[in-house]
Symmetry: C2
């Protein structure tokens, strides 16, 4: 087990959960997402790689009345705009819930390096489709802060029912 | 064969081809799309249904440097904004090339009534995936002005190679 990578993934998933919480506060289904880029540079003459969050987004389907306004779609558009290019081959996308087929296929187009998600979506998750919707080069990791990401969704709907 | 429906579909596909031509003129891969809504109303006291083009779009992946900026995605967002709602259950989307998985899944989210496309996309077409990416209620019709839609793409790449 790569504990260093796990710590990195957990830290960034907490950031994605913060975005999900913002969505919940706005009465949107609470799914949050961030994109982290590995950016090369030089520090005191030595080359180094730093990781930077280049996009943060949450679900906006209610506000925009557009069911395609998923956190991932907005984060992808923000990240490509930030990079000024069409590909996210040096980026990891963190999202609290497994991407749907639309988002997985969008992540294929941008050839994202890694996708890290929290809980599975048993109804609309992209993993139910074959062949894989992701790019062959993309590494997909599920189950990071799974319980917490699932609780974010179930707590939201519990509160909805009480209202 | 429903010749009346065929005539309607061909007429609207010509409109989608016009959008594709605009894309070609802008040096974008020439794929065009329109969305037609069936809108109810009253004329001289009688209820009637009229068909109106509520969105026109073409591929903008180069201009926006965003490989998710497909004609269909933009048309969907424009159409939901026009309607002020999240569903396109009374709409037909016409597109010159078979939708990719991202666009098919987006059309699932908006529960579009019909999808009419021109030529198949043997590399990235959504029909290669199972189970179907479309909504169970969506009717999908392919091959309308197939040769013309395919020629729009092949002519574009022929010119590119000559340059």
């Amino acid at each position: 087990m790569d504990l260093e990578q796990l710590k990195i993934d957990v830290d960034y998933m907490v950031q994605a959960l913060k975005e999900a919480q913002t969505a919940a506060d706005e009465d949107e289904i609470p799914i949050g997402c961030i994109i982290v880029a590995e950016e090369g540079g030089k520090k005191r003459g030595k080359s180094s790689v730093s990781k930077n969050i280049i996009a943060r987004a949450h679900n906006l389907t209610e506000m925009l009345k557009d069911p395609t306004a998923h956190a991932e779609m907005q984060a992808i558009t923000a990240a490509t705009a930030h990079i000024g290019g069409k590909y996210l081959g040096q980026c990891t996308l963190y999202v609290t819930v497994e991407p749907c087929p639309m988002c997985a296929a969008a992540l294929n187009w941008v050839q994202v390096k890694r996708v890290v998600y929290g809980c599975k979506d048993p109804k609309r998750g992209s993993s139910m489709f074959s062949p894989s919707l992701y790019h062959p080069k993309t590494e997909v990791v599920g189950g990071v802060l799974e319980k917490e990401c699932a609780a974010m969704i179930s707590d939201f709907f519990k509160k909805k029912r009480v209202k």
